[in-house]
């Protein structure tokens, strides 16, 4: 078995076991392809993403864990470090600061942390970054909350 496959299988088992431990993250492996995963993460509290559920798509490369998984938001999100159209995430641990000790689960945690602590100085979403950089926290919060309501909350009724 390829090392990546063996390791993903290990992670799969771990996820099954940890399901209760971390209610904010729900990682699901594709039925037919262990290299494709999706995750549902809860927007962290006391942020404009609170109450939203965001879907992430993981594409795991063959050399994993020597190479990081590719992760993007499937759910629209207004965040300085997430591309508004593609959902691409700008996060160092997914690029040059990757370490093979990260797991899909811990990557999800890192993304939740990024949602709570945006880095407006390296924006993928310039509008969002500019609002924060110009100090308009209120404007940023209301935009982010609006998109959370529009895209990340289950429709009522």
């Amino acid at each position: 078995m390829q090392p990546s496959r063996a390791r993903l299988f290990k992670e799969y088992k771990e996820v099954q076991r940890e399901k209760v431990a971390d209610p904010d993250i729900q990682l699901v492996c594709d039925d037919t392809n262990i290299f494709k995963w999706t995750a549902l993460i809860k927007g962290p509290s006391e942020t404009p993403y609170e109450g939203g559920v965001f879907q992430l798509a993981f594409a795991v490369p063959e050399p994993y864990p020597l190479q990081p998984p590719q992760v993007r938001f499937l759910t629209k999100i207004f965040h300085p470090n997430v591309h508004f159209k593609t959902g691409e995430i700008c996060l160092d641990i997914l690029k040059n600061a990757w370490s093979p000790a990260w797991t899909l689960q811990s990557v999800c945690r890192a993304i939740i942390a990024l949602m709570a602590h945006p880095e407006p100085d390296s924006p993928l979403n310039c509008d969002s970054g500019n609002l924060l950089r110009s100090g308009d926290v209120r404007g940023f919060n209301s935009m982010a909350r609006m998109y959370t309501r529009l895209a990340a909350m289950p429709k009522k009724g």
Partner: protein
């Protein structure tokens, strides 16, 4: 790019007692346990070596250290093959280019040097070798064998100078013996003594505390009349353990205990340095 100061995913691995012995890279029980030399985090030897390879392939110049995947501490080597007496160090900056890594055979031979001299004396008839003056007959396997031994003992790839020096010393010893042989008959014992003292003198500056054991080994190899492979398999048969046992791992646990008994006779690694430590 956003930078997040989150310790590299350690939380997902360190908690849970049953996973304590899992390698953080492959998440399976650690195989051939190895430690980074500064933070002492442990990994499978293969896993951490692969990671170092990946990291060095991303930079243009030679890496001298690697960050621990768990704690980001800089480390310059991997400590591995720890067997209670000795360990090996795999340096980050020797890894890719001109670094010299002992082959399996050389590593094995190094272990043979921990055994007592005269270990195979009953197998090969050394005194007959001297009586028959077989030293005067060319041995076509000797040079290759000698090169390997020197590389193993000195842990260096380029041993040409020492090699040619020793062969030169041996040749001139043989010539002298031959000439003398025509004039006066000397006892086999004198020849043997002479040979060993000449060789020891020549090798000592390079091999130091290992010299005497080395000279015994040279004599034994020549006396055996075997080629390198046959000589090695003689050793392996007698010693009962080989470097392979680590690779084989759990597969042959039955013979493990036996091997363990034999291994305990092996003298610790550090004694080799006793004489040259001042």
């Amino acid at each position: 790019m956003a930078t997040k100061a989150i310790a590299g995913g350690s939380s997902s691995i360190d908690d849970g007692s049953d996973r304590e012995d899992a390698c953080p890279i492959c998440l399976t029980p650690i195989f051939q346990v190895s430690y980074l030399d500064t933070c002492f985090h442990k990994f499978c030897f293969k896993c951490i070596k692969q990671w170092i390879k990946v990291v060095s392939s991303k930079v243009s110049k030679q890496l001298s250290s690697v960050k621990c995947p768990l704690c980001k501490t800089d480390n310059i080597s991997i400590i591995h093959n720890f067997d209670g007496y000795s360990f090996d160090r795999h340096y980050v900056n020797r890894n890719i280019t001109d670094g010299f890594v002992l082959t399996k055979e050389q590593r094995y031979r190094l272990q043979c040097y921990y055994t007592e001299s005269g270990f195979l004396a009953d197998v090969f008839d050394v005194s007959r070798f001297w009586k028959m003056k077989k030293i005067l007959q060319p041995n076509r396997w000797f040079e290759a064998w000698l090169r390997r031994e020197l590389q193993a003992l000195m842990q260096e790839e380029d041993v040409d100078i020492v090699l040619h020096h020793l062969i030169g010393v041996m040749d001139s010893f043989c010539k002298r013996t031959e000439e003398r042989h025509k004039q006066e008959a000397r006892s086999a014992e004198t020849n043997q003594e002479q040979f060993k003292s000449v060789m020891a003198e020549a090798a000592r500056p390079f091999l130091m505390a290992r010299t005497d054991r080395f000279v015994d080994e040279v004599e034994l190899f020549l006396a055996s009349g075997l080629n390198m492979e046959a000589y090695d398999s003689m050793y392996k048969q007698r010693l009962g353990w080989s470097n392979n046992r680590r690779e084989i791992g759990a597969a042959n646990e039955a013979s493990e205990e036996e091997e363990e008994n034999i291994r305990t006779r092996v003298t610790p690694y550090l004694f080799l340095f006793e004489e040259d430590s001042d």
